[in-house]
């Protein structure tokens, strides 16, 4: 029963397992499910294990039991992306007019719906003319925004299902916001960084060491001798160095801020430094990079167990990295290329990672990224990337 439904869910990309499907059958045979409403909630609780798939489930359900059109994933994605792009472009009508090849004045006369339709038509045309699929948006270069990380529509609040049929509820698509592309929130970052811990004995001796107690008691001929130890506390030291200069980092500021805010709340021993593009003789303790320089040579005085996290897009002109006088600032002329400086940091702190807000698929196109990757392990600033970075940093040796 409902085998089609199961396969459609699977096809739509929801990870449904046969075991859970059998469990649904069990629920059906036990007479627990007596109406379509029951089936909607029951099947969802049993089959779908994350709220980020609720939206997709709603779409499939509405399709299967009401015959609503279920858009093929590509097309659905396309329209979502288009809307995101359009939203962004509407802030700058001139760019939009240029991109669509219409006069700006004509553009203003169109209603939003007309505009979207026109835009979609154009987009499809373009898609066909170019290399097909949604690639055109991704790599075309005309788009002012990358599509990931941005989610249109904002937060919707889920409702109560009272007095509504399941299909209607499903058609409302209440769970849209939980779809995977939602922006990264502090709590998600927290999850990813949670494993970054270094437990060492610290504080008052308040924990009984049983093995030692027994041993000492025996030595004491049975006279009880209780041995206390310090309990394990997280004493992890973290240095966060953020690239906060230049237009190339501009699009990622919000993302990096979220990371920074979380890090500040989480780590007791956190130092933050700022730099522009890459690191030369100085790091800066103040965001404008003016009044509080910190000489890179001084870093050796810090604990080498410190986890050193560099956040930056690593995109710059090759000479900035390689030339002896590469810095775009006159004051920094020590004769050491930044490349050497970075190597020095990597040597001083064995647990160093570079986190790049640019998506990994864009990396091969920038040469400086390639060079920096030779020095540091580099990860994307996504949940996935952060998790990998944390694993790397927690590795012993």
């Amino acid at each position: 029963m409902f085998v089609d439904f199961f396969f459609l869910l699977k096809k739509a990309g929801i990870p449904v397992s046969p075991t859970s499907f059998l469990r649904l059958q069990k629920a059906l045979s036990m007479g627990l499910i007596n109406s379509l409403d029951d089936f909607y909630t029951g099947a969802r609780a049993i089959l779908v294990k994350s709220e980020k798939y609720f939206d997709l489930y709603d779409q499939v359900f509405a399709h299967q039991f009401k015959g609503t059109e279920f858009k093929e994933p590509e097309e659905f994605e396309l329209s979502e992306i288009a809307r995101a792009l359009l939203d962004e472009w509407l802030k700058d009508p001139k760019a939009l007019a240029e991109a669509l090849g219409v006069d700006e004045k004509d553009l203003l006369k169109l209603s939003p719906e007309e505009l979207l339709k026109y835009f979609m038509d154009r987009l499809k045309e373009q898609t066909e003319a170019h290399h097909g699929g949604s690639k055109w948006i991704g790599t075309g270069g005309t788009s002012p925004v990358g599509h990931s990380g941005y989610h249109p529509g904002g937060m919707r609040v889920g409702g109560v299902s009272r007095n509504k049929s399941a299909v209607k509820v499903a058609m409302e698509r209440r769970y849209r916001d939980y779809s995977q592309e939602g922006p990264m929130t502090p709590s998600q970052l927290g999850e990813a960084l949670k494993r970054l811990r270094n437990m060492v004995p610290f504080g008052p001796k308040d924990k009984v060491n049983i093995d030692k107690t027994i041993y000492e008691t025996m030595r004491n001929a049975g006279e009880i001798e209780i041995i206390f130890d310090r309990s394990l506390k997280d004493r992890l030291k973290v240095i966060l160095a953020i690239d906060n200069g230049g237009w190339s980092m501009e699009p990622y500021i919000e993302l990096v801020q979220t990371l920074f805010n979380y890090a500040r709340a989480q780590f007791k021993d956190l130092k933050t430094f700022y730099f522009h593009n890459t690191i030369y003789d100085y790091l800066w303790e103040d965001p404008p990079r003016r009044s509080k320089p910190f000489p890179v040579d001084e870093l050796v005085r810090l604990d080498p167990e410190t986890r050193f996290i560099i956040v930056g897009d690593a995109s710059m002109a090759p000479y900035e990295l390689m030339a002896t006088d590469g810095s775009i600032y006159i004051g920094e002329r020590s004769g050491k290329p930044s490349f050497e400086r970075l190597k020095f940091i990597a040597k001083t702190f064995p647990h160093t990672v570079w986190i790049n807000p640019k998506l990994a698929e864009e990396w091969p196109y920038t040469r400086s990224i390639h060079h920096i990757q030779e020095i540091f392990p580099m990860f994307e600033l996504t949940l996935d990337g952060l998790e990998k970075a944390v694993t790397t940093m927690m590795r012993k040796n």
């Binding site: 629920a27 029951g42 927290g190 049975g222």
Partner: protein, 283 residues
């Protein structure tokens, strides 16, 4: 109340407003004897649900508050070596020192297993613990038994407890874990639902106060840049504070004044942001 619930399934409790969707899921999970995993924003009543189920069915509630340093064995049982050592030295207790079993204390999961009646086991904030803990625990809950190594004894559950697991994190738990649970995500209640929730807590509240507080509450939730949005618990405490203040008039709220902002916003940066935003309410 208890009898009625046993026939019709779970329909809510005296201080808990239940939406139909969740009621169905609870009933299915109980019938299938599967743990129910609840996710959602803080303050959507995940923990309260377990309390409500326990109350509605007259079952005992056992709460396991998961901590990040917790090991599975802590949740199962504890072998109290120190007391035994002490007893063996001084011998002034009634316990038999050579019988290790007398020094085994049951943890929360252990208590749920040995209980003579069916209980509700609430495993709160499972996401705090690491993945190994989660998977191992699900094994135990799946098998409904565990071994006590020290005395080589297997503890089997007398009755399968009703298991409710809550998680705050947006991150997914591991696949094997999810495979063994039913899942539900509780969305933040809509204003109508919230009115009913408030009504359950303050049956005699007058309509004007109810409407204006709920309205202000949702307005405050929409302020941008707030790290921890006020949740149901804060709203209820806030209304309690307003009712306790003899100088408070409902008209103030409509005018845009928000007294006792500190009850709603508990982080000082949030408080400042909210204060500035509230100042703009009064136009």
């Amino acid at each position: 109340m208890h009898k009625e619930n046993q026939i019709k399934g779970f329909t809510g409790a005296s201080k808990y407003v239940l939406d139909e969707e969740l009621a169905r899921i609870v009933n299915i999970s109980m019938a299938l004897e599967m743990p129910l995993l609840l996710k959602g924003e803080p303050g959507t009543g995940k923990t309260m649900l377990a309390h409500a189920i326990a109350e509605a069915f007259g079952m005992k509630l056992i709460v396991l508050n998961v901590k990040s340093s917790m090991k599975l064995i802590d949740a199962l049982y504890q072998y109290d070596t120190l007391t035994r050592l002490n007893d063996s030295r001084f011998g002034d207790s009634k316990r038999d020192v050579s019988n290790i079993e007398e020094y085994i204390r049951m943890g929360k999961i252990g208590q749920a297993f040995v209980s003579d009646a069916r209980v509700v086991l609430l495993i709160d904030e499972i996401d705090k613990a690491d993945t190994d803990f989660q998977d191992d625990m699900l094994d135990v809950l799946d098998q409904m038994e565990f071994d006590i190594i020290e005395i080589d004894k297997t503890i089997k559950a007398k009755h399968r407890p009703v298991i409710i697991i809550t998680s705050n994190a947006k991150k997914d738990l591991s696949d094997p874990f999810l495979g063994r649970c039913n899942f539900h995500h509780i969305a933040f209640p809509e204003p109508d639902m919230m009115r009913r929730i408030v009504h359950v807590h303050f049956p005699e509240i007058d309509k004007e106060l109810l409407d204006s507080t709920v309205k202000t509450f949702y307005r405050l939730r929409e302020i941008r840049g707030i790290e921890k949005k006020p949740a149901t618990r804060e709203l209820i405490n806030w209304i309690r504070a307003l009712k306790a203040d003899p100088d408070f008039r409902v008209k103030d709220l409509i005018k845009g004044e928000v007294p006792f902002l500190g009850v709603l916003f508990k982080k000082s940066p949030d408080y400042v942001v909210a204060q500035n935003a509230v100042a703009r309410f009064r136009v």
